[in-house]
Structure formats: structure tokens, C-alpha cells
């Protein structure tokens, strides 16, 4: 049996194992046999034994005992053995292993071998796993190979140089001249390697970048040749001539054109040509256009601006699945965000598509669609956009809720068509995503409510209903308690223009507040709100003041310090300062957004100063001083 059949036979045997245990048994046996074979000095099937080991390694089993065999095989004069030896080295050795140093000499020798396929093995291995030390050692060899006349070797040497520069950036200088001269080659493989190398040199070293700007005309010339040339069967992919090379050239042009007027100007025509002549119905063309758009958006603005219509038509122009990616990609969104700042209307036209992306199953697409949608909200489209955004909020992934809520508040604040709409919107958010809103939402909403004089009745009705329905969303409950406490009289009077009035008794309202006080779902802050609201009602209701008195006195011995303190103070208000109670608990004045605040996000009746009996002013409820505007998106 010829050795290679033995390898395939082994693979067959391993695959036919019915259990993991059986597989392990087979592999242990094979590895033992392989180890024994390695120990033999001369052996016809050496390369096949190593290949077997590599297969076993890919299944996840340890294969480190094969490392030295790789070293030995690489040094063999037989091509088949070298080939597998180098493959083994790339799979089993990495620069962290000591054994990798041992192959440096073999690589060095093979780099100058008379047979190009042997040279190729060495180049491939060096580019794949060469350590910094190996790179330093062999860099001069690579430079020499860059100047050979053999294209097959030159193209590989170029990419090897790329690896060397990545590992040891200072060696970049060594390759600069050779890299430049490679640009005049006709061979596409060599050209591609040259462009990649120059890109790497420019990225590593700003001086090289400055130097290489002078090749912009050359690059433009090569690109033009590719774009305008007729059909070339060898390099054609879906009607595009060597898209791989085109993409790399465009990327290099981007780096050279960034922040440089001359370079940007020099590529202006070319970019227009590429954009108009590239058929993007298939991936190859789309890849080129994508890179073109990236370049357009990144070079000097006076060039970019000219291309806005083109970028937009590229992003929104097509329906193929591949281009949908472009539409949603980070770069598209970045580009659109840039464009939106200067030419809002141009992007507005495509708002529908962007909003559709809110429904995309992919979470990263959703995130970008959200950012862009928020950027596109305006006074004109606020109602329809808000519908979409609230819909989004109710089903969006949890990690996006805070951002969405915050963005919605911001948009509502800037463009609310009416106060009632504004309040409704905020309530909707609190109901849907109350747990994800920021702390200052509560005082901000309360402040808003106080300013909407005609809507107090409407608001308290809505909030009472919400409170009775569900007390789990803390921010909503806090605002509801505050409202009920403040405007409970309007609720009891059952008069409301804008919504169905409720028929409630004083007991109903007190029940609702007591439920909040007693619920394990209520946070200490929420209970504070409920207690204060209960207290406030003592001046707004007529029949159940005693009930309030007893609630308040119970909490005088509450284990929560904050509640206890309040209850004690309210008790005092009932007993010693009853004559002040009405004044202290009077209807709040409209809160000024910029009024000085003390506590963070809590609305509390300021504790009555026991000693200051002359104070007749209602205690000013403190408002959070935090940002008067919500977070900007």
C-alpha cells in the first residue's frame, strides 16, 4: 500500500469510530505508531506520518511531539518532505516555541534554492509565522528577492516584506526603494504585493507616507488602466478587471489622500470614473465601489462634498442582498452622519429605508439605524418618527433600550408639537422602558408637568390609571405618586376635558398609594414619594384625614431611615404645626428648570425646620440640578 493511502485509511478508520472513546483509542494507537516511526532514522513514509499527525492535530489532539520531525523534514532534500515539513511548521510551531528558531537556517537556505517552489515554501512559512528575530535575520534576503526578475518569487517576497514590517517596523526603510520600483511591473500578482507593501510602509511610518505621496499619479494611472480596459479573461471577476488589485489601490489612495489637498485633487477624476464605470450588481463591483466610497468620505472635504449624491445613490440605490450590507454597514452610517450635518435634506429622502432597518434582525444594524434615525428627527417629521421610535422601543434588544429612551426624550424635548404630546410620549417611554431611563427623567418630567397648567387634570387621570394598572416601573410610579399627591383634588373632582374622568373615592386613591408603600417591588425612593403624596393629600381631601394620620404614624417606626424621618416630620406637622400644614403642603409653583437643587433626582418636601416657626413659605421642593437637557444622542 502506498503511504498516502495509509493516511486516507487512517482518516477513514478515525471517522468510522462510533464514540468519542473509540476515536480516542484509535488515535492513541496511531500516535504511538507515528512516534515510533519518527524515532527511526530513515523511513520512506516520513512525510505521510507527519501528515497523519497533522490530521490528528486538527481534530484537537496534542501533537507537540511532531515539532522536531517538522524541523527534520524541512531540512530534507526531498520536495515532498519539505512541503509537509513546512506545512507542519506552520501548524505546530509558532514564534513562541523554541523549535521555530531551529528552522531559521533551513529557511535561509531554501530562500536561495535553485528551485522556485522550494523558495516559495520558505517564503510562505516566513510570512506566516516568522518571529521578529527571524525577520531581522532574513530581511536582507527578502530585499534581494524583491529585486529578482522572477515574478513568481517577487510577488511572494513582497508579502513576506509586509509581514517583516509588521513585526519589526524599523526594517521598513530597507524595503522602500524596492517597493517603489515594483509599481512599474506588469504582473498583477507583483503589483498587488507592491501596493500592499507600500500601504504597510505608509501606515507604519509618516515619513514614508510623505515620500510615497509622489506615487499617486502612478497609482491613478494603473487604476485607470484597470477600470477602462477591455475584457481581460485572466483577471476578470463578474465584469470587473482584478477587483482585488483595484480595492487595494483605492485603499492606498485613501491613505495618501487623507489631509492632503494635492493628493486628493489628483484622484478626483479617477474616483468619479470608478464610481460611474463600475457595475455593482455583483459582489466584485460592490467591493470596489465600497472601497471607493470609503476613500471619497475620507479624503479632503472639498472633494468629498462633490460626491455626496453619488455616495447616497450608492448606499440606497440597489436591492441586492450584498448591497443591503453596504447600506447598513458602519461606514454607510458614518458617511450618512457626516452628510446629514451638511445636507440634511439629501438624507431625509431616504429616511424610510433607514427606519426600516430598525426592524432588521441583526442587533448591530439596529443600533446604527437607531443612531441615524435619531439624527434625522426634525420638527416636520416628529410625529411619524416618534411612532416608529416608540414601536422600536417596545421590541428592541435590552442593550439598546437606554440609548433609545434617552434619544426619544431628547427628540421629544426639541420638537414636541404640544405639551400633551410631550407628556404622553414620556409616559409611553416610562411604561415601556421605565427601568432603563436615567435618574433625572423623574424630576424633569415633574418639572414639565408643572408647566402644563391646563393639563394637570389630564395628567393626573392618566397617571392614576397607570398606577392602578402596574406598580413595577419605579420611575413611572414615582411620577404618578407625585402627581396624585399634588393634583389629587382634580382627580377626586372627576372633571377632565381631554380624557375619560375616573370615578374614584378618597379611599381608592389612598388605597393606591398604600399599595405602593407596602409593595416589595417599590424601591425606598419610590416609597418616599408615596408617603409624601399621602401626606399632601391631607390638605386636598376632606373625609379621610384620619386615615392619613394613621398611615403616617405607622411609618414613624419604619426600619428605613429615610421613611422614618419623613414620617416623624409629617407627624410633627399634624401635631405641633397643624396650623402650618395647609401652607406647607400647598400647590407647588411652576418649577423653574434652572432652580438650585440639592438632592439627586428626588422630589421631597424639604424637612420642616422645627425651630423656625416663623416660616410661612411653602417648602420649596428641591429639583435635581442635573442637565436640563437630556443626553444628546
Amino acid at each position: 500500500m502506498s503511504p498516502s493511502v495509509r493516511l486516507q485509511e487512517m482518516i477513514r478508520v478515525i471517522r468510522s469510530a462510533r464514540t468519542q472513546c473509540e476515536e480516542r483509542g484509535v488515535i492513541q494507537r496511531e500516535c504511538a505508531a507515528i512516534r515510533a516511526q519518527f524515532r527511526q532514522a530513515d523511513n520512506v513514509g516520513r512525510s505521510h506520518n507527519l501528515a497523519k499527525l497533522l490530521y490528528v492535530h486538527m481534530l484537537g489532539y496534542p501533537a507537540h511531539f511532531g515539532q522536531m520531525e517538522c524541523v527534520r523534514l524541512i531540512a530534507s532534500p526531498r520536495y515532498s518532505e519539505k512541503r509537509v515539513g513546512y506545512l507542519g511548521a506552520m501548524m505546530l510551531l509558532d514564534e513562541k516555541q523554541d523549535a521555530s528558531l531551529l528552522i531559521t537556517n533551513s529557511i535561509k537556505n531554501d530562500l536561495s534554492h535553485s528551485n522556485q517552489y522550494v523558495q516559495s515554501l520558505a517564503l510562505c512559512t516566513l510570512a506566516c509565522m516568522g518571529s521578529a528575530e527571524m525577520c531581522r535575520d532574513l530581511a536582507p534576503e527578502i530585499d534581494r528577492l524583491l529585486r529578482t526578475s522572477n515574478s513568481y518569487i517577487k510577488k511572494k517576497a513582497a508579502l513576506c516584506a509586509v509581514h517583516i514590517v509588521r513585526k519589526v517596523p524599523e526594517l521598513g526603510e530597507l524595503f522602500t526603494t524596492a517597493a517603489h520600483s515594483l509599481l512599474s511591473e506588469k504582473n498583477h500578482g507583483v503589483l498587488h504585493g507592491a501596493v500592499v507593501l507600500i500601504t504597510e510602509l505608509c501606515e507604519q511610518n509618516p515619513e514614508s507616507l510623505a515620500q510615497f505621496r509622489k506615487v499617486v499619479p502612478e497609482l491613478v494611472h494603473i487604476m485607470k488602466g484597470l477600470v477602462m480596459s477591455g475584457y481581460s479573461p485572466e483577471h476578470n471577476v463578474a465584469g470587473i478587471s482584478d477587483p482585488f488589485l483595484q480595492v487595494r489601490i483605492l485603499r492606498l489612495l485613501r491613505i495618501l489622500g487623507r489631509n492632503n489637498d494635492t493628493a486628493s485633487d489628483a484622484m478626483n477624476d479617477l474616483l468619479a470614473q470608478v464610481a460611474t464605470n463600475t457595475d455593482s450588481s455583483k459582489t466584485a463591483g460592490s467591493a470596489v465601489l465600497y472601497e471607493t466610497v470609503l476613500t471619497i468620505m475620507d479624503i479632503k472635504f472639498h472633494v468629498t462634498h462633490y460626491f455626496f449624491p453619488l455616495v447616497l445613490s450608492f448606499i440606497f440605490g440597489f436591492n441586492s442582498c450584498v448591497v443591503l450590507f453596504i447600506r447598513r454597514s458602519y461606514i454607510s452610517m458614518m458617511s450618512l452622519q457626516k452628510i446629514v450635518q451638511t445636507d440634511h435634506n439629501a438624507v431625509q429622502r431616504h429616511r424610510g429605508t433607514i427606519v426600516d432597518c430598525l426592524k432588521d434582525p441583526d442587533a448591530s444594524v439596529k443600533r446604527r439605524a437607531l443612531e441615524l434615525s435619531l439624527a434625522l428627527v426634525s420638527a416636520v417629521n416628529i410625529r411619524s418618527m416618534m411612532k416608529e421610535l416608540l414601536l422600536f422601543l417596545s421590541s428592541c434588544p435590552p442593550e439598546l433600550r437606554a440609548q433609545a429612551a434617552s434619544g426619544i426624550f431628547s427628540a421629544a424635548e426639541r420638537y414636541a408639537p404640544s405639551q400633551r404630546w410631550h407628556i404622553d410620549t414620556i409616559l409611553h417611554v416610562l411604561t415601556t422602558a421605565g427601568a432603563d431611563v436615567r435618574d433625572e427623567t423623574v424630576p424633569n418630567l415633574i418639572q414639565l408637568i408643572t408647566t402644563a397648567n391646563e393639563l394637570h387634570s389630564y395628567t393626573v387621570h392618566k397617571l392614576y390609571r397607570a398606577l392602578v394598572a402596574d406598580i413595577s416601573q419605579q420611575s413611572l410610579v414615582q411620577v404618578a405618586c407625585w402627581c396624585v399627591g399634588e393634583y389629587g383634588d382634580l382627580l377626586l373632582r372627576a372633571e377632565c376635558d381631554d380624557t375619560e374622568p375616573v370615578q374614584v373615592t378618597e379611599d381608592d386613591v389612598l388605597d393606591a398609594l398604600e399599595t405602593v408603600l407596602q409593595s416589595h417591588m417599590s424601591s425606598p425612593a419610590t416609597r418616599g414619594f408615596a408617603l409624601t403624596a399621602t401626606m399632601k393629600l391631607s390638605t386636598r381631601i376632606t373625609h379621610n384625614v384620619d386615615r392619613i394620620r394613621s398611615i403616617v404614624s405607622i411609618y414613624g417606626s419604619c426600619i428605613d431611615l429615610e421613611l422614618q424621618q419623613r414620617a416623624v416630620e409629617y407627624n410633627a406637622l399634624f401635631k405641633k404645626y397643624d396650623h402650618m400644614r395647609a401652607a406647607v403642603l400647598e400647590r407647588m409653583p411652576v418649577i423653574d428648570k434652572t432652580s438650585p437643587g440639592h438632592s439627586k433626582g428626588e422630589m421631597t418636601a424639604g424637612p420642616v425646620q422645627e425651630r423656625d416657626q416663623t416660616q410661612k413659605q411653602p417648602a420649596v421642593e428641591t429639583v435635581s440640578q442635573e442637565s436640563t437637557n437630556q443626553v444628546r444622542v
Partner: protein
């Protein structure tokens, strides 16, 4: 490109090419997590996803997933083309390639890949030239020519 993985729908690894230095343990961890992530994707989702700090480009051909990890500045769409080109090369070489070809001739799959990509970058953009080089190298391996190069 940082690495390329080929795996079956059951998550079995058929080829792994690493262009960055990582320990065996790290490679195993990455492979396991990434395979899981890609296999969980629904058919209608697009071929690109963000994973850790990398961009992942993947495409399924019959029973095999071809998965590449590229860096921020790399072009996702051209990576799709690279994957497609590699599949075409395998197809031409094996004649209507299937997963079994890659299992039983995995070394050849690596040799072909190494003639197309070098250090994570495309080295030859002509399909014809890659296949010609493989053909020549294979000839060199024939027993007749194998003694003392």
C-alpha cells in the same frame, strides 16, 4: 486577514489557517466560540458580523462554512470574493469539490490556500496562475523527481 476557518454544519473543523501568533489554547477557545456564533446565525442574516474586535466574513458552500476574521481596515466585500475564489480553486483542482475531498486531502487544501494567500493577503489574483503553480509543485512531488532536488 487574521485567520480562516472551515467547518461543517456540525461544527467539525476541516481547515484552520492562522496568520497571527496565538497559543493552542487560545486558538481552541476562539474556534469554539466563533463556530458557535456563526452556526447560530439564521440563513437570511448577512454574511458579516462583528465579533470581539474583529470583523467576521463567512459564507456557506454546501455543507461547509468558510469563515475569515479580518481587521478594521479590511474590505468585507472583497473578503467574500477571496472566499469565493478559494472555493473556485478547490473546485477546479478536485473537480466538483465536496467536503469529503477536503477531509481526505486536507494537505492539498492547505497547499492550494498557500498558493493563493500569503501572510493573510492575496498573492495571486489570476486563477489560472494559482492552478498552474499547484500543478507544477505537484509534479515536483512525484516520486520520479523526488530524489535530491
Amino acid at each position: 486577514m487574521q485567520f480562516m476557518l472551515l467547518f461543517s454544519r456540525q461544527g467539525k473543523l476541516r481547515l484552520q489557517k492562522w496568520y497571527v501568533p496565538l497559543s493552542d489554547k487560545e486558538k481552541k477557545k476562539i474556534t469554539r466560540e466563533l463556530v458557535q456564533t456563526v452556526l447560530a446565525r439564521k440563513p437570511k442574516m448577512c454574511s458579516f458580523l462583528e465579533w470581539r474586535d474583529l470583523k467576521i466574513v463567512y459564507k456557506r458552500y454546501a455543507s461547509l462554512y468558510f469563515c475569515c476574521a479580518i481587521e478594521d481596515q479590511d474590505n468585507e466585500l472583497i473578503t467574500l470574493e477571496i472566499i469565493h475564489r478559494y472555493v473556485e480553486l478547490l473546485d477546479k483542482y478536485f473537480g466538483s469539490v465536496c467536503e469529503l475531498d477536503i477531509i481526505f486531502n486536507f494537505e492539498k487544501a492547505y497547499f492550494i490556500l498557500d498558493e493563493f494567500l500569503l501572510g493573510g493577503e492575496a498573492q495571486e489574483t489570476s486563477k489560472k496562475n494559482v492552478l498552474k503553480a499547484i500543478e507544477q509543485a505537484d509534479l515536483l512531488q512525484e516520486v520520479r523527481h523526488n530524489y535530491f532536488l
